[in-house]
């Protein structure tokens, strides 16, 4: 039986196509849905760290009332608002998030802000801002 073999040119073309395909693989895979949350202060409000504030607590809800997680984020001395934090969806979908941000000083609430109706989008990072006012 006649044997079939690729010419060197055909083999090179095939190899180039294969490597091109492999190079494009990462692009085929989108990132996890994410939210870049900016925590800023309302006009006329300021917190000095650590004299006025030393941590921010985030209470994250799904559909307004289902608590997803609570996170305590310590603030480094000498840093200032605004801060940013990235929320990444690694498990189930969260089509409607609500984030409450509470600024604390040694556990006592000194500021509060909230943002609602935030939807994450697959393959990209959406931005949201929560403005904290002093209490």
């Amino acid at each position: 039986m006649k044997t079939h073999s690729l010419s060197p040119l055909s083999s090179a073309s095939l190899a180039a196509a294969l490597f091109g395909l492999l190079a494009a693989l990462p692009a085929c895979k989108g990132q996890d849905p994410a939210l870049l949350l900016t925590i800023t202060t309302a006009q006329g409000t300021s917190f000095r760290v650590p004299q006025d504030a030393d941590a921010i607590r985030l209470d994250i809800y799904q559909n307004e009332s289902e608590l997803v997680t609570t996170q305590q984020l310590d603030l480094d001395a000498g840093t200032n608002f605004p801060y940013t934090v990235t929320l990444v969806e690694t498990g189930q979908d969260y089509p409607q998030l609500k984030v409450n941000a509470t600024v604390t000083l040694q556990g006592a609430e000194v500021g509060y802000g909230s943002v609602d109706n935030v939807a994450m989008s697959g393959g990209s990072t959406v931005d949201a801002t929560v403005t904290v006012t002093a209490q």
């Binding site: 039986m1 294969l18 395909l21 693989l25 994250i60 801060y83 934090v85 498990g91 990072t125």
Partner: protein, 331 residues
């Protein structure tokens, strides 16, 4: 060993040799290997152990599937062994009979190369004193082409005529062929007889496909023999006979061959123009399954696809940038 025992031994072997002198083409094709008894006899003759050689030759001749070449060697060695036992008249006669058979199947005397000088000398004497029909026996012939039957005469009187007697029948299994052969023995008149014409110091005739019962296609067995008749009609010699014809296979696929080389030899000049009848090249051997691209192409495709899928799955997903306070993974 007594002379009477020798006579009985050789008479029986000569009878068997006559029966085996026209081996079937199928047997010819089946038995291509060395005849071990023949080789043993050859070695014994070389050592001068002639009685043992004769016994080996009896066994060698009885083996089925002997080719014309084997038989010619057997006759040459038998004559050598007989003459080696001593030049008695009885041995001379038996050796002459063996060499007479040899000339019928080996007109070139190529088998004499392994014979003793005494046997060679006697062979020449037989050839020059006894009328002989010398003929390269056909073994296999391509169906559909003219069949040239060619013969020469040795030591025959002038005006001797050579006649070809032949009959064709469909190739059949061995058992059926035996039955047909028996029928042929009963009714030898079913042979078609044609006279060979003088042609350049020899005699020849062409059997044309579709004429005179010669098959034009398919596989057949052609049985034939040649007779040399003196002008008065008396039989001078016969190469083959009605009872023991030469058998040739007419085949559309097998390689043509004739003479002591049988189908191993390329048969020249079967065409009327003297062209060599080139056998068709055998079909190429079938490619093993593990060498076929039809097998490896799908496997290769599956492997490549698996590799691609594996790489896709193994690739880490791109990560979003972390904020100044870091990252919080939502469960």
């Amino acid at each position: 060993m007594t002379s009477s025992f020798l006579r009985a031994l050789l008479a029986s072997t000569l009878l068997l040799s006559a029966l085996a002198a026209a081996p079937s083409p199928a047997a010819d094709m089946q038995f291509r290997g060395a005849n071990q008894n023949l080789e043993e006899a050859r070695a014994l003759v070389a050592k001068g152990r002639f009685e043992e050689a004769l016994q080996e030759l009896v066994t060698a001749e009885q083996l089925p599937g002997n080719t014309n070449r084997h038989l010619a060697d057997i006759y040459a060695l038998r004559a050598s062994a007989l003459l080696g036992l001593g030049p008695t008249p009885e041995h001379q006669q038996l050796a002459s009979d063996a060499l007479f058979l040899l000339w019928h199947i080996d007109p070139q005397g190529s088998a004499l190369a392994s014979a003793t000088q005494a046997a060679k000398d006697l062979a020449q004497e037989v050839r020059t004193t006894r009328p002989l029909v010398l003929h390269d026996r056909l073994v296999t012939v391509r169906t559909g082409q003219p069949i040239r039957v060619r013969a020469r005469l040795s030591s025959a009187p002038p005006d001797t005529a050579i006649y070809l007697h032949y009959r064709a029948e469909a190739d059949a299994p061995v058992e059926a062929r035996d039955v047909q052969q028996t029928a042929a023995l009963v009714d030898s008149e079913e042979y078609v007889r044609v006279q060979l014409e003088p042609a350049g110091g020899a005699y020849e005739v062409y059997l044309r496909p579709g004429v005179g019962g010669v098959p034009a296609e398919g596989d057949h067995v052609l049985r034939y023999y040649l007779e040399a008749l003196a002008p008065d009609g008396s039989l001078l010699d016969s190469n083959g006979s009605a009872r023991q014809p030469i058998r040739v296979l007419l085949s559309q696929t097998r390689t043509e061959g004739a003479g002591v080389g049988g189908a191993d030899a390329v048969l020249a000049t079967l065409d009327e123009g003297g062209k060599v009848a080139h056998p068709e090249p055998p079909p190429p051997p079938e490619t093993p399954i593990y060498k076929r691209w039809q097998l490896w192409a799908p496997i290769g495709g599956v492997v490549v696809a698996g590799v691609v899928i594996g790489l896709v799955v193994a690739q880490p997903r791109p990560q979003p940038p972390n904020g100044s306070l870091g990252r919080v993974d939502l469960p």
